[in-house]
Symmetry: C2
Subunit: 386 residues, 2 copies
């Protein structure tokens, strides 16, 4: 439950979020409270925060009340939402299945109607995957457009704050509160359907999302089939994972070595694996990152939007095997690496149901086009559930 972790905070009461309630992923500091990052041992071994994280201060100043913090994957290092210490937040839209992570509790709180808006973050899919699995709106903004002061880092090259909402106008409204830096506004003149990304999705998922696009075609101008990754997704995903691993170890490695925390399954293996990545590997990956970034940014110029499945499948079952989840993680990260390596903004909308479970449709725009993507979301929203 969100407010198990922190006392509720009353906002200014005036502003664009007046009267709305917000839940916050337990990676953002709240003054006087400990921040845990999904790890009870990190929580216990660190002092209360001296001040609010920037996003917390912003939503309070914009008039919202904060109802509490939400559970996330340990050190944000999973896409499932399963936290071995606190339990897995229950996905109210897909019972018996994971909520997606690492912003799991924030997505669940939004889907359950426990709040109007929930703050999360995204490094390698931690906003987008739970948005898809829980059937809510979610955004990974342009890298750098959300002030991460007072947030626990994971891999700063990719980390960006984001938010969920259950309805489109509220979702858009938060943009004016949390987005800073340069906004690039231009009409959307072309939608590129990433056929190679759609091919990664389970057939019923791809079909359901294509059916949504057919219904909503009036809002999707100049559609064209497009191959975003002509050399496949493996390189981008590996580049992403190498840099991510190097950065998380550089941040948390000494604490892990010193305290030997009882890390949950999967988290332990990935942190261990991260510890083996040397600086030469990371350097080589950073060079490839620049090439990948240039390629993707070239394919999505101002006015162009790339359309793709948010995740390759509906939420995995709670009792899925570790092998199955590893395979899921690889497929999911092939899709999430596009915005991850490029730093471009991506929104996910609750476009369809497959086997009664939500599936998200995503749109990636050019750098700074976040506001344009939020407008697109509102125009597409009437087709949700149609």
């Amino acid at each position: 439950m969100p407010h198990d972790l922190v006392h509720a905070l009353t906002g200014s009461g005036a502003g664009p979020l007046a009267g709305l309630t917000v839940a916050v992923k337990d990676m953002y500091d709240i003054e006087g409270e400990r921040t845990g990052g999904g790890s009870p041992e990190w929580l216990a071994s660190h002092p209360p925060a001296k001040r609010h994280a920037a996003v917390v201060a912003r939503v309070l100043a914009a008039g919202a009340d904060i109802i509490g913090k939400t559970v996330c994957d340990e050190f944000f290092f999973s896409l499932t939402g399963a936290n071995a210490h606190y339990g897995t937040p229950i996905n109210p839209r897909a019972l018996g299945r994971v909520p997606g992570g690492s912003s799991a509790g924030s997505a669940v709180a939004t889907a359950a109607g426990a709040c109007d808006v929930a703050i999360g973050s995204d490094t390698g899919g931690s906003m987008r995957v739970p948005a898809s699995f829980c059937g809510v709106y979610g955004i990974r903004p342009t890298h750098g457009r959300v002030d991460m002061t007072g947030a626990m880092p994971m891999a700063p090259t990719f980390d960006v704050g984001g938010w969920f909402a259950a309805s489109p106008g509220t979702f858009r409204r938060v943009g004016a509160v949390l987005l800073e830096g340069e906004s690039e506004r231009a009409p959307i003149t072309r939608i590129r359907f990433a056929r190679d990304a759609f091919q990664l999705a389970d057939e019923p998922v791809g079909n359901a999302l294509r059916a949504f696009c057919a219904q909503a075609r009036a809002e999707l101008p100049n559609p064209e089939d497009f191959t975003i990754a002509p050399d496949g997704f493996d390189l981008w995903r590996n580049v992403f994972r190498t840099i991510q691993g190097r950065e998380i170890w550089s941040i948390y490695g000494s604490w892990v070595q010193r305290t030997k925390p009882n890390l949950g399954p999967g988290i332990r293996e990935r942190i261990q694996s991260a510890s083996t990545i040397g600086e030469p590997d990371a350097d080589a990956a950073r060079q490839k990152l620049e090439v990948a970034r240039a390629h993707i940014r070239g394919a999505i110029p101002l006015g162009t939007v790339l359309c793709l499945p948010t995740a390759p499948c509906i939420a995995p079952k709670l009792d899925a095997t570790a092998e199955w989840l590893d395979a899921f993680r690889m497929r999911a990260m092939s899709l999430t690496a596009i915005a991850g390596v490029s730093g471009l903004p991506q929104v996910s909308i609750p476009a369809a149901l497959v086997e009664g479970c939500p599936v998200g449709l995503s749109f990636i725009g050019s750098a700074g086009s976040d506001e344009t993507l939020l407008e697109l979301v509102v125009r597409l929203s009437p087709y949700c559930g149609a």
Copy 2:
């Protein structure tokens, strides 16, 4: 799809609902469009509306955009949401089950994230039942507190406009836009749990709602077990149905006799049954109504709130038999008649899941306590999904 029925309307853009999108039940007039009340023959045989219904004008003035009209049960005369002419809106939270009605399309649009707010109406449960079945917030305000000018009537003694939202702050915010007349504000000092209403619910539904109340007990002061209907619910339900039938026939009877519309199953039988209710029956019922109203209002004075299940069960399956649905209707109307006959305000919150399907928990307050109930909803909301 909502906007099949009407072109979208842009609101003032400024005000408490600025930037939010609204869907409207097809019983409210929109200038230049025909109003159908769920009946294609009524739609075809009436001219376009000359002006907006009051609630439409209010949400537009408050800054919202209207994305379209929503399908409802024919002449609002069902609690299932099944419309034989337009099809049954798909309940995105309980696939293979009805959405509840008659404000079915509005509840579904809200649950699917197709809009921020959807307007409906409630005579004998048409807001509350779909709110419960679709897992959204819904309100039946105090009778008379929503201006029904420009709305098709059903049974004016009981008709009242209401709204749905997927998140609590947005739900509360609409109150300032649509509620008029006297607001009675007082702290909630006592929660009466209607044990006889809980007894009407399926055991798993009652248990799930009681578990929610136990979690949220800090927000539910001075709880006490209470019998709201010491003589049972049959009398109130029959009084309600007699007056409802008499009024709907007095409004639509001559049109039905003249045009002989092809009414859908269930609707046809109930309209036929309504035609047999004479004025002496109605008069007798009206006298009993006054007694029932006084009893219920006496049991829920200012500061007291009655807590009860919104509906007795999860949403019935789409292929339920007519007999099963008739039995469901009787049970549901035993619960909905409490606010129906008394004219008191009732809110429903998406409190729990049973078999993966939403179930709503309701609170009935004293006349004019709508705003107090909306505040209670926001305080209880963090426990949703907990």
